[in-house]
């Protein structure tokens, strides 16, 4: 089963290696200035040579990301449950929730800096602002789509509202919740970097800016590589927790495939 699982990623692996090889050949043979497009090998070398500095900045960004994600998960879950408590709540909150996502955060960024300063707080806030929405919406949809038969059964057994939520609706909503969480995890590292771009002393966003202003394109790409790896790892971690938390769900998927 494990081998099969690894083999299922074979095509993605082959495609990635092929793309990298084409890139390496194109940038290496084409005599393109490394400032315009460095080769993948040069990027990995740049990453290894500057690992100490990049690590320092990565920890800062990672801390902002995980704190932001925790906040987003708590807020997203709470919002989803609130939306689910009554039709009235849903009608009141849902439009506001969607409107909140139409505000370009880039326009708010200067204000965030003036209100909250240069510390880690505003970056955590930016990550949470970006991430809570997919979690809240996916989880709310999951809660709303509980099987009517099960609900009828519980009602006939005189279950309370909270019992229904805890026993049927919340477990039923978990697959949707994890879908939302995966989307949020993908965006969260980039959101933290965006928050740093607004103004910070440290972090991958600041490192990107410093290297770009010193014309060190190789290091810019190295930082992009770290960002991509972090995002993938977070995505993987969410998937792992999902497998642990919902074994029945994954069992069912494997059987239907």
């Amino acid at each position: 089963m494990k081998l099969r699982w690894i083999a299922s990623y074979g095509p993605a692996f082959v495609l990635a290696v092929a793309l990298l090889a084409i890139w390496e050949l194109y940038a290496g043979i084409g005599h393109i200035s490394p400032r315009v497009l460095p080769t993948p090998i040069a990027i990995v070398q740049g990453l290894i040579n500057n690992w100490g500095v990049i690590y320092d900045n990565t920890i800062q960004t990672l801390l902002e990301t995980v704190l932001g994600m925790v906040a987003a998960t708590v807020v997203g879950l709470a919002l989803a449950i609130m939306l689910d408590t009554s039709n009235w709540m849903r009608r009141a909150i849902y439009p506001l929730l969607i409107t909140s996502q139409t505000i370009p955060i880039i326009a708010l960024a200067p204000l965030l800096l003036i209100w909250f300063g240069y510390d880690i707080g505003p970056k955590v806030l930016v990550v949470a602002l970006y991430s809570f929405f997919p979690i809240a919406v996916a989880c709310a949809d999951g809660l709303a789509s509980a099987e009517p038969e099960l609900m009828k059964l519980l009602r006939s057994m005189r279950a309370t509202r909270w019992q229904m939520l805890w026993l049927v609706r919340l477990p039923g909503a978990m697959p949707s919740f994890f879908s939302g969480l995966r989307i949020a995890a993908t965006y969260s590292v980039t959101a933290a970097i965006f928050g740093e771009y607004v103004g910070a002393a440290k972090g991958l966003g600041i490192y990107l800016q410093l290297e770009a202003n010193s014309f060190a394109t190789v290091q810019v790409f190295a930082a992009i590589l770290v960002t991509a790896i972090l995002s993938l790892l977070l995505f993987g971690l969410v998937s792992l927790i999902e497998r642990i938390a919902l074994p029945w769900y994954h069992g069912a998927i494997a059987r239907t495939m």
């Binding site: 200035s33 400032r35 315009v36 500057n50 100490g52 500095v53 990049i54 320092d56 900045n57 920890i59 800062q60 990672l62 801390l63 995980v66 704190l67 994600m69 925790v70 880039i106 960024a109 200067p110 800096l113 003036i114 240069y118 771009y197 607004v198 103004g199 910070a200 002393a201 440290k202 600041i206 490192y207 800016q209 410093l210 290297e211 770009a212 202003n213 010193s214 014309f215 060190a216 394109t217 290091q219 971690l237 792992l240 927790i241 642990i244 938390a245 074994p247």
Partner: protein, 372 residues
Amino acid sequence: MNRRTRLFLSIGIPALLVIVVAGAFLWQQYAAGSGVKQSQPISGTLEPQCAALTKFDTPSTQNLTGMSLALDWTPNTNHTGIYVALAQHWYQAEGIDLHLLPYSASVSPDVLVSTGKADVGVSSTEGIVADAAVGQPVVSIAAIIQHNTSALVTLASSGLSRPRDLDGKTYGAFGAPYETAVVSEIIKHDGGTGQFKSVTLDVDAMQALESHRIDFVWVFESWEVIQAQREGYKLNVFPIINYGIPDYYTPNLITSPTEIQQKPELLRKFMLATACGYEYARAHPKESAQMLLDQNANGTFPDPGLVFASQNFLSPRYAEPGRKWGLQDASAWHGYPQFMLNSNGVDDASGKPIHSLNFDALYTNQFLPWGS
């Protein structure tokens, strides 16, 4: 796995991740805190006004007045004097605990200074004039570089060897309202028509130039041009003040009128330490560039050679020989700002171009240790 183990793991794994990351972060803070940088003994003679600063040896952290300075860009050789004064603890000698606010792409130092979030900042003549026009006044308290060192550049291989060749070519703009007027004036001054195409870039203009996406850009000789030389690119350089553009100061140190009213003494102390830092940098390019490198986190300057080369270029240009650093003349504050207004490049808060301003209110020399 039973239900309880699953729940425990689902919450435990993220919690563990947070703890590990926070632990690594705190460990890093702790490790960074234990390695405090000592000031190197200073060599050479100093201005008489600066000598008093060096008599002070044990830096105390008590009874210091907090002060913040907003940077206009990532640290570079325009800021060297500030880092020299930091490295030598001259701000502490004057009773100031100076915090540098890092460069932000979305909030200018002018905004931070005028809203009181920063006491002082680094800005430019263009920024100060535009601020005054929209009623967000800031005041220039020192010229960091006496003469303008910006230039239009083309690739030597392009064959565009003088400004009039730029007619009809593509310019990589950075999006300021006055830049078309400046570029056009330079081309006309050299006998061209001043007609050119313009694309606004939010990327490194030099990259666009090297990849032949554009034909010419407006950059600083002290940074981009030196970098290109180090990489072996041949450039044609047309310094703007050689082609009919009035000379002006850039960058400048700024503060707000409120600050001037409420804390003149603090500003005077700040300027003493800063001016001495720049005077030292004028006389000691190598040592001062080293201080700029040492005072910044590892990785700030991937190429230290660029910093030394840039400092060698700038040190003699902070001010002309025999002139003290920082002084500003009325002529510079009337020439280029008026040129900006005449080109309709400056709008008031309602978006209408303005044609007159009280330029004398935009600068003061009163906080410099050498007086006005």
